[in-house]
Amino acid sequence: MKVLSLLAIGLLVGALAAPVRADDCLDCHRRKTPAAVRQWEASAHARAGIGCGACHGADHGKIEKGEARVDQKVCGRCHGKALREHQASRHGMGLHSGWGCTRNLPNRDRQECRFCHEEGSEMPKSDVQCARFLKQSSEMGEIGCNSCHMVESSCASCHTSHNTDLKIVRDPNSCAKCHMGPDHPQWEMWQTSLHGTLNATAGRSVGPDCQTCHMVKGSHNVSFGITMSSGGEPYPPEKRTTRREEMLRVCCECHAPAFARRELARDDAVRDQSLVILKGAEHIITDLADHSLLDPMPDQRPPHPLRGPQLVLDNQLLYEDTSHIERLFFKMKKYDYARTVKGAYHQNPAYTHWYGNAELKMDLVDIRSEAGRLRERKGSGAGKGASAEGESTEEQLRVLKRQAERGALSPEEYERAKARVLKDAAGEGKQ
């Protein structure tokens, strides 16, 4: 009797633990999600006998609550090499560069937590955050940020959910979903370049596409051969050299090495020249902030979500709740500098010049003009205790403090400069 009971329990446990077969799901899902079933039936997964449960698990309640989504970890169980390549690439940090913690945002969706946190952990998977994301509504963040930046953890971002046809992801249109628009129009650049034109007319064997150069031999490391950060800052020389050699190997599949090297060196020069223009504008704005001339100043507007009441001109700069001149700089840096540099590396003359460099130079004209207006507006305000430049002792001290805070003055230089200002204020320094 005891043996029989144990056998019955064993059979029951065995039945409960049995893997979920596709047939178990198909009856219902042919009616409820017919497209998903059709796509799966035509996929390599179906041909290999990989059913629904292999990816979605057996807990239907969890699936219904959206807690059993198929992310990169699920795919990575079988596609380990692709996952490792992906994680080593810029796509591998895509999500976090677009996200920040939403815990303090109104109307936030608690489902979002799983993008950044392991279940039950408060520690984020990455500390990369995005100030612009934190300024969005939940709805805008969902479509305007996450639709692209979820590429970090979701293979379906490119491959779609149930299709396995590589034709989909080998088409440059699958990249265009994100790599287009005013900030990084790589798709438009490529399409209207000689590479893109040849691709459209003579085919992939003559005109390379995104995948040819950036996913060499099917690699998921899309950062292969790139010599600068996503913000367009060149990598340190050693890393740059290694990356350049990688890209040259790709170019030399079609081009003579000397030609490819010369072309890329010319693009580097465009980047460096454009960076000088950009840094010039940045210096103007920093100087205005040092002299309290921004309108409004950072401490007179909503605080920056990551840095508080500070001037932010690096990659975390905002296009809202800033002064007009910072908004001009946003366009200059995020749109026009990016278009100049990426246009050059994608061999697109119009993007490099008219959409990029010309706009960049006109931005500098606008920024200088706005800076002049702000300085003129302040000009008549010099009062008691003003320096030769018309600044009061207090303003001079404030300028020095800001310069010291951003590292433009060493502690020793700061102390000396302050001592000079205070001596002048006491009437001792000018005797």
């Binding site: 207090e394 001290l397 404030r398 403090k401 302050k418 001592a419 205070l422 001596k423 204020a425 006491a426």
Partner: protein, 379 residues
Amino acid sequence: MGRSPLCSVMIIFLFGLLVSGCSHLPVQGALPESVRITEVSRVDAESPFAFDPAGENLALVDGGLRLKNIASGAETRVGAETPTALAWSPDGSRLAAAFPVAKESALRLYDRHGRLQAETRLGGRVSALFWLSSSEILAFAVTRLDYSFGANIAEILYRWDGTGAANTVSLQQTTLMPGYLRQWEGIFQRALTFSVSPLHDEMLYNRLFAPPAFSPYLKLMLRSLSSGKEREVAAVSLLSAGGVFSGDGESIVYGEGEGESRQLDPWGERIIATIHSPGRSLALSPSGRYLLADGRLFRQGKEVASFPPESAGAFSPRGGMLALRYGERLYLVAKLPDDAPSSPDATTAEQLRQLHGWVSEGLITPREYLTTRQRTIPR
């Protein structure tokens, strides 16, 4: 009808007390011969009182707000409600009084005859008032919200010009756990108060700090009234009376609550003097010559007399008088030999305000403050 000798002695003694002004204020030590101590009035225990700027009238609480002329003893009954804070305007023409109304306070302005002129409502319980000018008053209030896990305590600064609603500045919020609430009930709310510099540029307030694993304590915060920038000056016990400014606006005296009191230059960050008394109640004469700490009267740092430690005092704005509340009596200690108030002239005051502002914004260090002060403001 016979009367025992003992009974006769008692009657004579009581009559003597009556005609001598019922002076039951215990005093130890040698006060100067000129000093006269008289009882002014019966007052409610723990109630506030305030001299007018001329030192001629006192606002006090005896079953309600009263105005009392010191010389004549004439008294005006203003009302039956009991205020939590009182302050006279700089010209003495108006009196501000804050009254508790449920969980709020009513801030009322009266003329010198006790006639109501204006009123506004403020959230929380007002613990101190200060006139920033003859048309603007500051009120320091504390709100408390009780939950099962403790109480949320918020400190708020109000600025009111006598018309419309007051402007609100939230100074800080913290949560006090139930155990600490029980331990400090009745103390922490009294401990949360403020004082304002005679230069009217900065205020000193007691910020309640309740770290999760330690007992709550107070941080004395110096806050610029123009920029809102704050600096911690000292950390003290909840028993501390906080700090008071010296008449020249160049130093503060604060009590640690347990241990000693200190006179500190908070801008130059240097201790000027140490007073061997915990500073659970403090008052500084406008000249800076006299300090009353925990009932002990110090003249230029030397203890000259002592009153009961639970007494609380305030010096008259022009010096020479000390009002002292002990139990349910208010006494006047008059004819104290004192110097003139040590308020700086207008130019010096402006220079000091500027230097204080620079320290508060972090534009100069305390060392640079001292050097620059020495260069620009001759002693």
